[in-house]
Symmetry: C2
Subunit: 352 residues, 2 copies
């Protein structure tokens, strides 16, 4: 045990107080408001110790202490007790996910949406990386006079779809033939694998049908690797009121990060699976997020990745409440996706 009981209780008190006020907390406040049974002087000593150990920080000599990232880390791992959700909260979550939505993207966005609403932080939702999916089925559908819809069903149950101009030179009967041909050739193959050398798979017979299938093949290919998987965010404005962003440049840089998204994607894809991951302050590599925490929960069913939901909030967020919430929502979402699909968890569409 790294910390004795008294230190733990003091660290906890400092964190609770700091979370509530966002101001450095002094020994007097702890002594008077959290009756631990010690005088300010004693608490002062312990705080000095905790600071030496790296769990607390002091902005300047005559100020109180604020918890450091390792302080929070220790708190989350070894001190706090997760709250259980209130029946009302559960109710709200269940209600939202009980709706008859079965489109994958709607589902994950709904889940993220509710996270933002319940926690009052910013929530994120990202679709899955499809690189390692395999093709289960391809459908070509003629629409109106002049368009063709390409639909790809992946083995994780996600559907990608796109529409191209159909120039009419490819005779309608041939669409069926080409459709069958594509399925024969590509079914069971890995998305990335196809993407990198689609010509090797279809070029031979390509011209036997018509040179006009080239744009079709191109579009199909670009459907496989969606380069701009973007991150859906909800409740950005929840964060803007935070004192953490009151310094002039922080806000700008902060929103820059949120808008750029690249870095966020990186982070989100790193989460180890099936459980909640918490990145506190500098643990998340961006200087401008040093006062923020990102929590992610990667959705996975039977080893198939189905996207990630997450939260961004201030470092001083109410972990013992927020963590159970994201767990609950994530579990419910996963459950919903599982029962939605009939054999291996498939039951989604995906915007393309």
């Amino acid at each position: 045990m790294l910390l004795d009981d008294r230190k733990k209780r003091i660290l906890e008190a400092v964190i609770e107080e700091y979370n509530a006020t966002a101001e450095p907390v002094g020994s007097g406040k702890i002594a008077s408001d959290y009756n631990l049974g010690f005088s300010p002087a004693t608490i002062r000593n312990e705080m000095a110790n905790l600071e030496e150990m790296g769990f607390l920080e002091q902005p300047h000599v005559s100020a109180g202490r604020i918890p450091s990232s390792s302080g929070y880390r220790f708190y989350i791992d070894s001190i706090m007790k997760e709250k259980t959700l209130s029946p009302k909260e559960k109710q709200i979550i269940d209600d939202v996910l009980k709706e008859d939505v079965i489109k994958f993207d709607s589902l994950i966005k709904e889940a993220s949406n509710i996270l933002a609403r319940i926690t009052n932080y910013t929530s994120i939702a990202v679709g899955p990386q499809m690189n390692n999916c395999t093709v289960e089925e391809i459908k070509l559908v003629k629409l109106g006079q002049d368009r063709l819809m390409i639909v790809i069903l992946a083995d994780n149950g996600i559907i990608k779809e796109s529409i191209i101009k159909y120039d009419g030179i490819l005779p309608e009967e041939n669409i069926q033939i080409f459709n069958t041909y594509l399925n024969q050739k590509l079914k069971g193959l890995n998305f990335e694998q196809i993407y990198e050398n689609i010509n090797a798979y279809v070029e031979d017979e390509l011209y036997n049908i018509s040179t006009n299938v080239i744009p079709l093949v191109n579009e199909l290919n670009s459907l496989l690797i969606d380069k701009n998987v973007d991150i859906h965010m909800e409740g950005t404005k929840n964060l803007l009121e935070l004192p953490e962003l009151k310094q002039t440049n922080t806000l700008k840089n902060f929103l820059n990060i949120l808008e750029t998204q690249d870095a966020l994607k990186e982070l989100i894809n790193n989460g180890y699976d099936g459980n909640v991951n918490v990145y506190i302050g500098q643990e998340n590599a961006f200087e401008d997020l040093k006062d923020f925490t990102i929590i992610t929960y990667k959705q996975k069913i039977n080893d198939k990745e189905l996207g990630t939901i997450g939260l961004i909030g201030p470092k001083r967020m109410d972990y013992k409440k927020v963590i159970p919430i994201i767990k609950y929502v994530g579990d419910a979402l996963q459950e919903k996706m599982k029962q939605g699909g009939s054999f291996d968890g498939r039951e989604q569409s995906d915007e393309s």
Copy 2:
């Protein structure tokens, strides 16, 4: 002519200067930097006149003047000369829209994207109101073991699509039959009209096929009226640095409006068609947007609405540059959509 030439030139100078600095501009500055050939005292007199006429305002007695909304309005309508885009700017725009994207939503987002990048303001993109569209074609497509895709092609060329769980009780042959049936019944009908009483159209024969088509019919119906048409925004962060948002609450309220979107939608749908609409300051009804201007350009081909692109920026935006840009982008977009479709401008998909 409402204003004599001297007043015009002074008003123009004040606007140019204020646009550049966001500070009230004084007579001295104008006299020294814009050589109009008058002393500060003369300019001071004219400014007092312009203020009386409502074109300028004065924050307090010992400050310079800032242009009022009607000042800007007059400037846009009667003073400024639109700049022509540089070949480089045209190039950038053309390049983006030359890409082989033919999905409607991608196109309009690309266009909005480039607006934000070139102007450094926030751009918006909204899909069209579909209420007055009519059904041109409906397709039901079986996907994998257990899902059914519903596709609706509207008469403006936009495609709506959704996926539902297919419980297998409806025999596969019947899908075709039901598909044909739906087309017979609904083709040519107005979206809103169908939405309000779909049962009247299909209920009779509904149960003859299977009660299991009910969820299908429901989903089809909800596809018709997409209640959450959301606004795509790009470059929100461009605005955050503006001094206009430096007062404490403004920022929060401002982002609130952007996030709520309802009000924005309202505004955007009001634009008179086929041309650029400029809403300056209080012209746009939201107290918290009083220091901002919204410019919209509603896309329309052969009387079919295809969405709107727009810009949000500070009232003091560089109109003579920005207006030609949105015109150019809007025209290019419209052209692209026109040539994309073969007969009446159809060539898009739509995320559902």
